[in-house]
Symmetry: C2
């Protein structure tokens, strides 16, 4: 007996059954009851676990276990969200090992394109959810000019709008340490 693990509002569209720039959009069905792009996005990614998983993917994690460790999601949450992300075309699942069969998860173009949302969440969190003594969790350096862009979306030094691919991420020691200790705690369990 299969237990449905996905919340019903978090839509899940089979590949190639929809139109849109990259074929992953609801057609005229009842779920598509709004033209609001925010509501449509939220229908695909509007929950905590999905957002944290996307963050991990941008952090470079590709494996189930690492995502489980860093997001603290239960395996069910992870499975259901990854399935939805795959069905919705943000993520691709691919075997990296044949025996035993093991999979990794990779961002698609559509998934990479979602990055500005995470970047904006980061900027807001860095500005409004911080103790005075804390530095940035991750520094982004504009490769073209070598300057730290802070939390801006336009390089404060050369004025160009920056995309993730133009930036070098430098993870703070505190954040690195935190991530490492989660790994250790998981192994000790």
């Amino acid at each position: 007996m299969i237990r449905e693990a996905l919340p019903s509002w978090l839509h899940y569209y089979e590949k190639d059954s929809y139109h849109g720039e990259n074929s992953a959009m609801p057609m005229q069905d009842e779920t598509n009851d709004t033209v609001c792009p925010v509501a449509r996005s939220v229908d695909l990614v509007g929950d905590k676990w999905t957002i944290l998983i996307m963050r991990e993917l941008y952090m470079g994690a590709t494996r189930f276990e690492e995502m489980q460790i860093q997001t603290a999601a239960t395996p069910q949450m992870l499975t259901s969200r990854l399935k939805a992300l795959e069905a919705n075309g943000l993520v691709e699942r691919r075997p990296y090992n044949e025996k035993p069969l093991r999979y990794e998860y990779l961002l698609t173009d559509k998934g990479w394109d979602f990055y500005p949302v995470i970047y904006a969440l980061r900027a807001w969190g860095e500005k409004w959810c911080k103790n005075p003594d804390e530095g940035l969790a991750v520094h982004f350096v504009h490769r073209a000019c070598g300057h730290d862009v802070g939390v801006a979306s336009v390089c404060p030094h050369c004025g160009d709008p920056v995309e993730r691919k133009d930036l070098e991420a430098v993870i703070s020691n505190r954040f690195l340490g935190e991530r490492e200790s989660r790994r250790e705690a998981f192994k000790r369990k």
Copy 2:
């Protein structure tokens, strides 16, 4: 008997009990177990209803009923999320009428500052969740130069990074119609 309506992971910080740029940040308690700004943001706004409510506030809605109509949230969801948004300093509740006592909800600076997240969700939705025949749900026109910025965060005409306050929103007829018919359906109920 009070029934807790907020999911336990959606944090709720009493005013002035925390530090941060505008006093709304967890201190050293157990919930603040990460320096990741994305995780911290998600702890305050990482759910569907909160995002839709924020969207409505940016659309200009200030009233409980209008938000209920446009988000399709039940009154409980709305109440709990608005309380959290207020406690977390993104929204202010203010009486607009004394007898009977009626409240409206207004964005604070912290709430306005969240706009880039919604804008990024919009851009992604407009690019990836759209049928070919659909135009933009909302056009944003750069007041300074009179040009439509499309989905960009930098005006394609004058090259300036744009903020919400620099933009004139022009809601499409389709979106307007949809919103009006939700209102009618609600009244008929």
